[in-house]
Symmetry: C2
Subunit: 206 residues, 2 copies
DNA sequence: TGTATTTTGTACCGATGGGTATTAAATTAT
DNA sequence: ATAATTTAATACCCATCGGTACAAAATACA
């Protein structure tokens, strides 16, 4: 699928490339891009450096592939929440979903995309720009959905879709940081509930 | 004041130590702790490494002194907002103040404290813990203020001070990230206004 | 005029960063 | 078997990291 080179000649690869990519994602998710060293990566992936470079190119390309894997997961926050018909349920789903997923112990805490941008000095500028572009794309999905809600009369007249979308991403980023710093599910869910109540009261007709 | 060693014997120091500390703060503010190298620091401070180590100890201690400088500024967000009598004005002041200060072009974008935690791998664990402790102290100030407001009857009965404080810090962290990523004053102020309206509607008696 | 004391600049230290050259090992095709 | 091809492991490359040894320079005191 992601890597479908049927190299049927030569010595066969001694590791599962998709599994290795998942391990790499976990490390980047936990430590960000610059906070992750090749030694950490190779150890987590169970391979040596030359194998990593042969299979994935370099650290940067490995990161991009890992982020692709992250964003294409079917149980993504956006994919689930956007299934709701009413914008009120979308907003509730996004906030509660973020609080829940970001603190899920079955994987690193917080959002992999958000966590990755954090530790980017001027060195890895391309990483920064790419991640920012992806985040902007997600924000645009919010703007589009809220604009549609405004058109269909679900939102208050004085509620601007762009501002509402910005508020949502602000909360996501805050949730991601708090989760990474050890906040509990309960704490974030309570915050999400309060935020949702405030937003729905102010922005959504009921 | 901060460094009042009257070393009146020996070769006099060739640079202003307080000014140098301000420059160091600016660099940490922009790049975080691990994202800042000694070369960047010495260049910004206009001194060489041995001078830095003689004056400030090491990178870690320099960071702590820079953060002290940051937190003790009289025009701090909290110090200003907490002067208001009514909790509604405190909340409005904190949110609008954060949006405004975090995007102020006269210094690096975002909150120095929040930005510093971001790029902390397991390496600099002491930095992480110290910054987390300081952030927790600030959050406690919020909890105390909101608890007082609850007692004095300014808050709704179902509004928990801890949750409200968490929501505020969530927004601060989100604002800091967005500001660091280039969000404009206007954008953040609009978001802050919407957030304030929602919070006041849901949490504060009017 | 020393002498003690402190700062400054240069040049360096070991450790770690991302990345690679090279050779041995394992497989398919001839 | 043997050649061609691909992966694996070791050992290395250079740049940068935080930090420091050392000697020259600049001051106060005797």
């Amino acid at each position: 699928m992601t890597t479908s080179k049927a190299a049927c000649v030569g010595r066969p690869r001694g590791f599962d490339i998709d599994l290795a990519l998942e391990q790499a994602l976990n490390v980047f998710w936990r430590n960000g891009y610059e906070g992750t060293s090749l030694n950490e990566l190779t150890e987590a992936m169970g391979i040596k450096k030359p194998s990593l470079y042969a299979a994935f190119g370099n650290k940067e390309q490995l990161f991009f592939k890992a982020i692709d894997l992250y964003e294409n997961r079917p149980d993504s926050l956006f994919n689930i929440a956007f299934q709701h018909e009413h914008v009120a349920d979308v907003i509730r789903g996004l906030l509660l979903g973020a609080a829940t997923q970001f603190t899920d112990c079955s994987h690193p805490q917080g959002c992999a995309l958000i966590n990755s941008t954090l530790s980017c000095s001027e060195a890895s500028e391309s990483i920064k720009q790419t991640v920012l572009a992806r985040k902007a794309k997600h924000k645009q999905r919010l703007v589009d959905r809220f604009t549609q809600a405004k058109t269909s009369g679900e939102l208050q007249a004085d509620c601007e879709p762009e501002v509402l979308a910005s508020l949502m991403t602000t909360l996501f980023q805050g949730f991601s940081m708090q989760a990474s710093e050890g906040a509990s599910v309960d704490e974030l869910q309570q915050v999400a509930a309060m935020a949702a109540e405030g937003i729905l009261t102010v922005c959504v007709k009921r």
